[in-house]
Symmetry: D3
Subunit: 135 residues, 6 copies
Amino acid sequence: MGVTIHREAHFNAAHRLFRAEWSDEKNAAVFGKCSNPNYHGHNYRLLVSISGEIDPETGFVMDMKQLKELIVKYVEDYLDHKNLNLDVCEFKELNPTLENIIVVIYNRLRPHIAVDKKLSIKLWETRHNSATYSE
Amino acid sequence: MGVTIHREAHFNAAHRLFRAEWSDEKNAAVFGKCSNPNYHGHNYRLLVSISGEIDPETGFVMDMKQLKELIVKYVEDYLDHKNLNLDVCEFKELNPTLENIIVVIYNRLRPHIAVDKKLSIKLWETRHNSATYSE
Amino acid sequence: MGVTIHREAHFNAAHRLFRAEWSDEKNAAVFGKCSNPNYHGHNYRLLVSISGEIDPETGFVMDMKQLKELIVKYVEDYLDHKNLNLDVCEFKELNPTLENIIVVIYNRLRPHIAVDKKLSIKLWETRHNSATYSE
Amino acid sequence: MGVTIHREAHFNAAHRLFRAEWSDEKNAAVFGKCSNPNYHGHNYRLLVSISGEIDPETGFVMDMKQLKELIVKYVEDYLDHKNLNLDVCEFKELNPTLENIIVVIYNRLRPHIAVDKKLSIKLWETRHNSATYSE
Amino acid sequence: MGVTIHREAHFNAAHRLFRAEWSDEKNAAVFGKCSNPNYHGHNYRLLVSISGEIDPETGFVMDMKQLKELIVKYVEDYLDHKNLNLDVCEFKELNPTLENIIVVIYNRLRPHIAVDKKLSIKLWETRHNSATYSE
Amino acid sequence: MGVTIHREAHFNAAHRLFRAEWSDEKNAAVFGKCSNPNYHGHNYRLLVSISGEIDPETGFVMDMKQLKELIVKYVEDYLDHKNLNLDVCEFKELNPTLENIIVVIYNRLRPHIAVDKKLSIKLWETRHNSATYSE
């Protein structure tokens, strides 16, 4: 019987949305106040989901403590209290939208999750704006 | 890589559940205190989800500002601070249950969402009661 | 040592804000969309607080089960799934604003709370709008 | 058009994670502080979801009042204020992990849900740890 | 200008409410299902508040990192994943009600907070039941 | 009878904590990762409270729509999607801690609130860290 476990985590970061090759006017038109050159920031709320069979010995799909440690090591330590545009190499040329941050988090976690498990990522930028990627 | 974005919104409305062709007794038996002829009301919490590919130029599945404006125009302005039974034409003959309100919201938003995107609607009537429709 | 206990409760009701002796224009100007003659509604969230000394025998300021029953009997059964303007006698001539609903709830609960205890009432009409009365 | 309705419920219980045939050292290594022999506890938050067609007469996928009563009868009365290991027969030999508690809840509810409806169970053990089973 | 800072924390524990010198019948009558001899449990949510003047050099009433460490050391490490009745010496003869747990937490933290600061403790046992002590 | 009304609002901003006259080492020692020179950010949640008598004509302590507009004009438009250190003149030389942001918000709102009303400000930087100032 397949079950999905979910672990919530958080990180606080600054960012701005813009494309370097666009004019300031176009960036303002497309990204609005999110393109403020001095940055703004968010408390990001993250939900990492792992789907698979329940191990009959432990009763776990995956040990939640191990999942917590992976998220701390590969996501929180990497993104928390950072400027996504300046401090995180993946966003040197990639716009740090909700959608792209999810892709980066997925790519950082996927190698550390067993291949027979499915990985999903949900991320809230504010109470009202969120996004999800499911394998 | 397909991602889903989610936008939360709210509206406050009065309603009652009943069928005009049923007796008061039958309405009370089926709908309980929700059939109070003088109406009661709720703070409805809405989550609109759009699934599709990430636009490599903007990093967006869909511009969240545009989605917000569609929800304001076609849902919030239409339902907020209204009596669903009396003020909203779709419910003149349709019982304004959670399920039917979702169908009405879906039908109002669908024409304004690109055909290659999938649209889902989740609606909470209270903290404990909610419903979802997914394409 | 004085401690305050808090009990949360909920009721869902319809209402409209208006003064019968005012013109429709003045009601609309002062109360905006809250004066819709067909009513709108809310999920009200209530917090009742009782302050006093801890009883050394039970470890309670007041038995939370008794407080819960008082709230069910004098507030929830009286206001839940009602139209505040039409179904609740206190609001026949009193505008059912957050502030006035608090006064009504306070007056209904106060006789049932020991005189050596202090009673406070907090009420949320939406996530963003709330009010408090403290003795 | 298929819609899913969701009903939230809660129960508060004590438990410990361990396997009787393992040494204390192995239990501590695998389950950490969750294996405290004197138990710890949680406020469990439960979401039961039922998917199906909307009944055109009532506007319901399923009567939420009936769903609430089933959850009270088969889940809350059975698990609330209990020690899962000592008081609940299903866990006499089954480790009461999030995943296994979901299986037990599913098995208790499934016979009472119509066969043409799909049943899903989501359970939070803390704000950060949850799990889901979907048919 | 006096400001209050607030730090939220959590611990999960088992407990039962009872008085050893009372009969089982009296314990059941007064404490209801909370007196289950096999214990039940809760996710406790704690809010610690410190009031004082803002230090003009740091802009802090108190360093939130230091407050967090005090709470981890004196409250979370002491109460988390414990059976309050069996594992915590203060409750060997004291009923672990919300009110009494607050007194215990207050007494453990007070010696570590500067005497010119005021300390308040708020504790939630469930979403609906909480208590507060303010100096 | 004096009642307090509360209005919630939000703004998202970048900031860093540091004192220009301190060395990088001292800033790092005192402010930790909050002193990242490239900034980080938060979703700030704000609660503005106004205490006074209920106007018998309207049933309001203060018109919540007017309070909302004051908060939009003097707080949200001024702080939302800004870098507090670079874009907000009050923080050119003042460390943008929770406590100091509250003082700035209070000073911006106070002139627009009637002198016979009391004003309180509560601000959350994260779910776990908040602060309050009450007149």
